[in-house]
């Protein structure tokens, strides 16, 4: 009896699902000219990807293109399912940010085999998969790391450096760290401590506390993003080393810019996810609507180093008062 009920319920649900699918397909066929783009981003909780996702979908919708945004919650498996879902939904293009350089590749391959053009933004797959994507809009992350390294070399006396690497295996974290390391080690600095972690202020604080116990003579703490760096600067302050240990992040989030302006953090790299979103979505639109192929496999963006000198002007004016920052006299 009970079993029969379950079977019945399952049948009802299945029938409803098939019916709904038919409706949506019929809808899509009815307006054949309306393009649908699938967007797959690695994390829903990271402010950077929230801004990126919003900018992408706004750009698409602003030009009458339907956009489905899926987030993977920092789980490769989930991104793979998301891409499979987009393939099943027969979207006209996929704009995505691969969670790491390998994991999503099989799913991207399937999408490619299904004839769906694929575009990357912010993160990309390993070069051996370069036949799979039309273009990658992003930075050379090693260059970002090198920019931070150059600041260290120009402003500090050679000494010990700790590195908060961010998530293990993520290209932006790995390459950025590599670029930084090359520059500082060449100039006589030593990387004495490294650790992978989630990119939160909490982890930045905890890891930096440990790093400062192990090496109280650190001259700088490198962090893969601003939240980690802000946690680091808090650990530096708590250890009574304010002003003695430089902290460097990436992203240019308003709290980090305020901290740099106030001398609590040393430098960051300003990334503008809104600009990335606009640019990457426009490339997809040009491809779909105007039949314009991207010029090359890599569409580079420009990054800017922010220090105490220019931090104030980079803080959006409406936020200045909220963050309690005043211009330097």
């Amino acid at each position: 009896m009970k079993k029969g009920k379950i079977v019945f319920a399952t049948l009802v649900v299945a029938a409803a699902a098939i019916f709904a699918l038919h409706l949506s397909l019929g809808d899509a066929q009815g307006q054949a000219k309306k393009f649908r783009v699938g967007v797959s981003l690695p994390e829903a909780q990271n402010p950077f990807y929230i801004a990126l996702g919003k900018s992408i979908t706004d750009t698409f919708r602003g030009q009458g293109i339907e956009a489905t945004l899926l987030s993977a919650n920092a789980d490769v498996n989930q991104q793979v399912s998301n891409i499979n879902d987009l393939v099943a939904a027969q979207v006209d293009a996929i704009l995505m940010s691969p969670l790491d350089t390998e994991g999503p590749a099989p799913a991207v391959q399937r999408a490619h085999a299904a004839g769906i053009p694929i575009f990357f933004v912010a993160r990309t797959l390993d070069d051996k998969y370069s036949h799979l994507w039309k273009t990658y809009v992003g930075f050379n992350y090693a260059d970002l790391g090198a920019m931070k390294g150059k600041w260290v070399v120009d402003n500090l006396k050679p000494g010990n450096v700790a590195m908060l690497l961010g998530p293990a295996g993520a290209l932006f974290a790995v390459d950025q760290a590599k670029g930084f390391r090359q520059v500082v080690e060449k100039a006589g600095f030593q990387v004495v401590w490294t650790q992978n972690s989630m990119q939160t202020r909490e982890m930045g604080l905890k890891l930096s506390e440990d790093a400062l116990v192990a090496h109280r003579d650190l001259v700088a703490i490198y962090a893969s993003n601003d939240d980690l760096a802000l946690g680091g600067s808090q650990a530096v302050r708590a250890a009574g080393l304010h002003g003695k240990v430089a902290t460097l992040g990436t992203n240019g989030t308003p709290p980090a810019l305020a901290a740099i302006h106030n001398g609590d953090m040393s430098a960051t790299i300003l990334l503008d996810p809104i600009q990335w979103g606009r640019l990457s979505a426009q490339i997809v639109i040009d491809y779909l609507v105007n039949k314009k192929e991207p010029k090359s496999l890599f569409t580079p963006l420009v990054a800017e180093l922010v220090t105490e000198k220019n931090a104030f002007e980079k803080i959006p004016p409406p936020l200045r008062e909220k963050l309690g920052v005043k211009p330097k006299s």
Partner: protein
């Protein structure tokens, strides 16, 4: 508490008593032995491990997880399970941060944060206690709901709104001990006394040991279960507010996987996962061991990928020895 007394009496010069006691209770010596061995190994590798600075550092770091572990222990003693702890920490911190941002009233923010946790816990407890849904399912649900809500109300970005006085409190010391650790110890002490000296404490173990027998003897099993989850939620709320004192704000991504650390600590403490058995101070020792282990691996600079392996191995060893002991009893 009882164990502590019996153990100290085992230290009497009477050799035969010590031997028989050890023979009967060797399982209780496993975790302290691992702890001691760990201290020696890390100290041998780097003497800074047992420096005052690092001991204070570890006490600071463990205090937040210790409070979560207090709540997790009580739920496990009743035969329940709270997987939502980390998410409740996050949403409490976030709501506290919003309250202080809007009103500037720190006391109101802290009490709202703790209350948020208690409410979340009581919802868990209602489903588990009164509706009889498996705690695994209920708290798996609230884990996702809590994290999701924290992300929704913050739009994904952390809110750094606590005044400097509060973060100063977060790094302050009372009689040389980190104030946060004092708060954690107070929470532990209160709950330990409640468990030992109140009828509620007795009900907790009775419900966990045999819910049917407890019900037959007139105990309101549903209410005890709901109360246990409410306490767990409130401790998570308090932990969230302490985390805010360390980071200066509410991060929607904070507290990630706290539940697993807390449950691991309770297992290390030798509590029965099916409930009815366990001592709060042993759970505290478990969490201290996990924190000191993570910190030690950081101090001596073990490659980050090995951290999980080490922690997992210790958990499995401790739990297996416990099972062996039970079978040979």
């Amino acid at each position: 508490m009882v164990d502590m007394v019996s153990k100290s009496s085992a230290m009497t010069p009477n050799g035969s008593t010590l031997v028989t006691r050890l023979r009967q209770n060797w399982d209780r010596a496993v975790v302290p032995a691992i702890f001691l061995a760990m201290l020696i190994v890390f100290y041998a590798l780097d003497t800074k491990y047992l420096s005052t600075a690092n001991v204070i550092n570890v006490l600071n770091q463990v205090s937040i997880l210790a409070i979560v572990t207090v709540g997790a222990s009580i739920v496990i003693f009743t035969g329940g399970f709270d997987l939502s702890a980390g998410s409740v920490v996050a949403i409490s911190a976030v709501i506290g941060a919003i309250v202080v941002e809007q009103t500037g009233n720190l006391a109101l923010a802290i009490s709202t944060g703790v209350l948020t946790g208690a409410v979340a816990g009581s919802v868990n407890g209602f489903f588990v206690g009164y509706l009889g849904v498996s705690p695994l399912i209920v708290t798996l649900g609230s884990l996702n709901i809590g994290r999701g809500l924290a992300l929704i109300i913050t739009a994904g970005s952390a809110i750094y709104s606590f005044p400097a006085s509060y973060t100063d409190f977060g790094i302050s010391r009372t009689l040389g001990i980190p104030t946060l650790a004092v708060v954690a110890f107070a929470a532990f002490l209160v709950m330990a006394l409640v468990l030992r000296h109140t009828p509620f404490g007795m009900y907790v173990y009775a419900v966990g040991g045999n819910a049917r027998a407890a019900a037959l003897s007139g105990i309101n099993v549903a209410l005890v279960r709901m109360a246990a989850f409410t306490i767990s939620g409130a401790t998570c709320g308090l932990a969230g507010m302490m985390l805010a004192a360390r980071t200066g704000g509410g991060e929607p991504t904070a507290g990630f996987l706290y539940e697993l650390e807390a449950i691991g600590a309770v297992i290390l403490g030798g509590a029965a996962l099916q409930g009815g058995e366990g001592k709060l101070w042993r759970s505290m020792m478990g969490i201290l061991l996990l924190a000191a282990l993570g910190n030690g691996l950081n101090i001596v600079g073990v490659h980050p990928h090995w951290k999980g392996v080490a922690i997992g191995a210790i958990l499995v060893v401790a739990a297996s020895l416990d099972v062996i002991k039970r079978q040979t009893r």
